[in-house]
Subunit: 366 residues, 2 copies
Amino acid sequence: MVISERKKKILAAVVDEYIRTAEPVGSKAIAQSGELHCSSATIRNELAELVSLGYLEQPHTSAGRVPTPMGYRMYVNELMAKQKMSLEETEEMNRRLNQKLQELDDTIRDVSKLASQLTDYPALALTAQSSVTVKRFDLIYVDANTFILVLMLSSNAVKSKLVHLPVSVDADMVRRLSTLFNASFTGVSEQEITPALIHATERAADDSLGLTAVISAFVLETLGEANTPTAFLSGENRLLNQPEFRDPDKAHKLMSYLSGGGYILPAAESLGGSDEVRVLIGPENVAEELKDSSVVIASYDAGDNTRGLIGVVGPTRMDYSAVAAKLSFLAAGLSRRLGGGEAPPAGMHNKLIIKEIEDGHERRKG
Amino acid sequence: MVISERKKKILAAVVDEYIRTAEPVGSKAIAQSGELHCSSATIRNELAELVSLGYLEQPHTSAGRVPTPMGYRMYVNELMAKQKMSLEETEEMNRRLNQKLQELDDTIRDVSKLASQLTDYPALALTAQSSVTVKRFDLIYVDANTFILVLMLSSNAVKSKLVHLPVSVDADMVRRLSTLFNASFTGVSEQEITPALIHATERAADDSLGLTAVISAFVLETLGEANTPTAFLSGENRLLNQPEFRDPDKAHKLMSYLSGGGYILPAAESLGGSDEVRVLIGPENVAEELKDSSVVIASYDAGDNTRGLIGVVGPTRMDYSAVAAKLSFLAAGLSRRLGGGEAPPAGMHNKLIIKEIEDGHERRKG
DNA sequence: TGTTGGCACTCTCTTCTTACGAGTGCTAAT
DNA sequence: ATTAGCACTCGTAAGAAGAGAGTGCCAACA
């Protein structure tokens, strides 16, 4: 379906204006905006055709025009001005991205907050679904009843846990376990850690105390957490800024849906490979609750050939241009920081190191 | 000001009914409820007096009565039935509290979520403001450019971090640093870690690579995080369930205030020592934004002589009785698990008891 | 053939009016 | 002191009327 250049201009004008005012746009307003050099009557004719083509609709007979999802789609694909962010904005975003290069989850949480603040819509961020393995184990002997378990993952994250036992273990046992785990659990995927493997290890360690079980439980839990995509949602309340959510019921429904997190899996699956920003308009969304909202999604390179995503939710009357620009920038910033990780230094895998440091510190009672 | 027994009964009936229906309560409704053995005319007389005493008010001349904050206060202090939770509720709560005895922050976050779900109001949870110190250091040598830093805190939390260096260190240096830090940084409060101390350590370690700086920075950050009270907010959107927040502006204002977290410090300061549940009704709140909402707060023993808190925010027409009961139960449950450091919770799986999990996470820059 | 001004028409939104009813306060009777 | 009865008040729901924005269409025009 080819439509004339002028129709496109008019459509763009309608969408722009509607995004700005949230009110149906009349022919007069467009004529006066000065973009087109023709009268309101001409524009009325064009508008009527745009309606019959399905790009616009009228709330009622004598109201202005409002874009349909199809109209928005056309706008997003072809018409909208690719917005550049101002220098200040770019700097501000860079500053805030740089500020905290910390624990991954926290970074992602902050990014979702940032996205929400920048766009003034609710924002969500998803960590990547990956397949992390354990790179090395360390067990630190603390006292007869206690040791610290340290895991270094293939993603170079480090997780640790204090294990307190009702029975005594000796340093030797701890050392033996450490060797064993480094030998048989490193580089192994979550799925490969079977009960059989655990049992074998337990027997090999001559472990009657159930330490093996505890350790492998922690390993499984840690890998599970690291591999499962998690979502962070920020600024839900910004929905209420939008006139389309003045109806508390509507707002509540969408907010509950978002808080519920039911979108996580579908979203994680839809992860495309590109850095491109995708826009899902109204009924293009699968979830019933989003049928008259829009979602803008950018994905970022999280390293290890995995991708996470940042998204923003709002009414279909969303400032696509600005939001897309901002998300794209954010995603690029994240990719730069997380992605493309050069291979971690090799040759450390089967090294075993147990630190035993003189201790003599007592646990302080609370 | 002493008021008659019958007035109290009537006041209680008004509050109960108003909590239930959110509509002004008329004399007829009270007479029919059967509690009192007198006619609606008598009740009208009493109601008129209760109004002039300041316990009730009328939205307009010919409407029913609505409790004033003073009325709610009287209700909370003297009249309300101390609600017992049903057996199922208690069990459900216990089950969910036991479910995850994990990293502290997560526990608290879960508790706030739990509180919100149980009460159907937004809930917040604050971690305790404490003065944690480092109990022991471990440095795990990974390779020439990398080591893992593990901190065990006085709270028995364990934090770890991967440190990647642009220069080479030898295992000996790492060992030396470890000894030094254990000697001079353990048991030391955040405030006592001065630049002078850091410098002294750096010289003693003969550290020209700046490792001391990196390590002490992490220590300071970790202690800072552990000591600063943090708030978790859940279920903000439940506000929209309440008829008094059908006005989106009102709802939005309060939600923004809550999300902003500005209440954290005042709240943390107001921490009383007792296990008692406190109720702040409408204008009793300091924050302007809460002037016509109510807050119910319970505090829990977080160990180390510190206390955190769980709270619930809602309209003044809140089901104080039920909320108080639930929060009190939750707080008691938390205290039992976190506080005192004495007997660990019963009913844990296995023969091993997991005291606490902490984690750290570091990503290499891409 | 495309464009424009004019005009009657449609439909929503606001304002005004009216009617209703819940709940009151007062009074007189018990 | 309590109660029944009754007139009164006032907010709310429902209906009516007017205003205004915007349209569709037609006839004139370039």
